[in-house]
């Protein structure tokens, strides 16, 4: 069980800057994210796209912004627990107890939810029967590629993951690549490579097709794909791999007794606390009159929520307002 002053859910820009503000006022925190790295939507949705509305930074990419935020909180040595989702939250005395999908437990008087629009999860096949074969013959990520050796693997999608795995697996498996349109959004070098492999009969390629049916008893045996014009084709296949990108889903957070309005949580604008004492919500996931879904708004919300956490983490102390430029205590925390 990890005891801390604040648990931040979500390592996007808002969560990271809130961590900075907690460090500045002398609190400890632990950060949890379902992605395998920090950055949230900035890293997952637009790592290379420029952002133009961060104050005093005329232009930067999502990746640069994340890097700089990580650098900014480095002096505090806060731990970021990646690749796990908070599954359970319950009250224990004055504390909240959190359990993640990796079974790590936290005890803290404060939770700051900086969860964006939810945790990123792979988009799945829309054909209902696919659920039956999931994690057995149908996968949305690959942990051990050796299971595909000598098998027929059908890969769906048009991005880098689909193309890269089609190229890689074609070395030891029979690969069928299926995409819903003629253009691929993956790197052009990978597209060229796939077309080359098709010429060499190492990959079967079907565009303008989508999955329409799967069948098999315990393991997948065959699939049917449907062209835009309605015609279908059937193939024997041992595995299906779907790479349709990630979607955002709120998940268990909906069961924590929070005041939800559709996909956002109502907060006050004084310290961004929710209807649950000690649970704060900041960034895209919070809702109040006039809410703007901008990164800069998330920074402001994080700064105020950090101060809101102080009274529960240090009930016997008074928080004194200080500037980073002139406070000796803050400079020491920053290692300056």
């Amino acid at each position: 069980m990890i005891k801390t002053d604040v648990v931040i859910i979500g390592a996007g820009p808002t969560g990271l800057f809130c961590a900075h503000q907690l460090g500045v006022i002398g609190l400890k925190c632990e950060i949890i994210d379902n992605l395998d790295k920090a950055g949230g939507q900035c890293i997952e949705l637009y790592p290379d796209k420029p952002i133009y509305d961060i104050p005093a930074i005329p232009e930067c990419t999502g990746e640069e912004l994340t890097k700089n935020l990580l650098k900014q909180i480095k002096p505090f040595n806060f731990k970021i627990h990646v690749s796990q989702r908070v599954e359970k939250v319950s009250k224990e005395g004055i504390n909240w107890k959190l359990t993640t999908s990796s079974k790590i437990e936290f005890l803290s008087p404060n939770i700051v939810i900086a969860g964006g629009v939810g945790s990123f999860e792979p988009r799945k096949f829309s054909v209902k029967e696919c659920e039956k074969f999931e994690n057995n013959s149908i996968f949305y990520s690959i942990k051990d590629k050796s299971i595909f050796n000598g098998k027929i693997v059908s890969i769906f999608g048009g991005g880098d993951s689909a193309l890269d795995w089609a190229i890689e697996l074609s070395k030891n498996s029979k690969v069928i690549l299926v995409h819903r349109r003629d253009e691929f959004r993956g790197a052009s070098s990978s597209v060229d490579k796939v077309k080359q492999l098709k010429k060499e009969n190492k990959i079967e390629l079907f565009t303008m097709y989508q999955l329409s049916k799967v069948s098999g008893d315990n393991n997948l045996e065959s699939m049917e794909i449907k062209h835009d014009d309605g015609t279908t084709k059937s193939f024997k296949t041992d595995y299906l791999l779907g790479f349709f990108g990630l979607i955002m889903q709120l998940g268990p957070i909906l069961d924590w007794g929070l005041n939800f309005d559709k996909k956002t949580i109502k907060v006050n604008t004084e310290n961004f606390e929710t209807n649950q004492k000690g649970i704060f919500a900041i960034g895209d996931i919070c809702l109040y009159p006039g809410k703007l879904k901008l990164i800069l708004s998330g920074f402001h919300e994080g700064a105020l929520a950090a101060r809101g956490c102080f009274k529960y983490a240090r009930p016997d102390e008074k928080l004194r307002f200080e500037f980073t430029t002139t406070s000796k205590a803050i400079r020491e925390r920053l290692g300056k």
């Binding site: 829309s126 995409h179 349109r181 989508q210 990108g245 996909k263």
Partner: protein, 106 residues
């Protein structure tokens, strides 16, 4: 101003007056039409405002810009007439537009 008809997957139909300059997505969200999520708020960074544009309207709506098809790859059951409704800016020319909403967005 344009009258826009949103038809939910269950067949329930809503016809709304949407002001010029708003997007078809905003017309739905501001009028609490369920079936359009718009998680990213209209920045073409997700595919949760996905709609099917009625066939005879498909060539009349503003054409796709770069990147929209990439996002549509990630939509639930994309078809030939799929669009992201955040990219359809309303004008008088869209008066009478009909869009069908997919079974779900995620």
């Amino acid at each position: 101003m344009a009258k826009i008809t949103y038809i939910e997957h269950n067949g329930k139909s809503h016809t709304i007056d949407v002001e010029n300059g708003l997007t078809v997505m905003e017309g739905a969200v501001q009028n609490d039409i369920s079936g359009i999520d718009a998680d990213c708020g209209g920045s073409m960074a997700c595919a949760t405002c996905h709609v099917y544009v009625k066939e005879d309207w498909f060539n009349k709506v503003p054409s796709k810009t770069e990147g929209e098809d990439d996002m549509l790859d990630q939509a639930y059951e994309p078809k030939k007439n799929s669009r992201l409704s955040c990219q359809l800016i309303v004008s008088d020319e869209l008066n009478g537009l009909i869009v069908n909403l997919p079974e779900k967005q995620i």
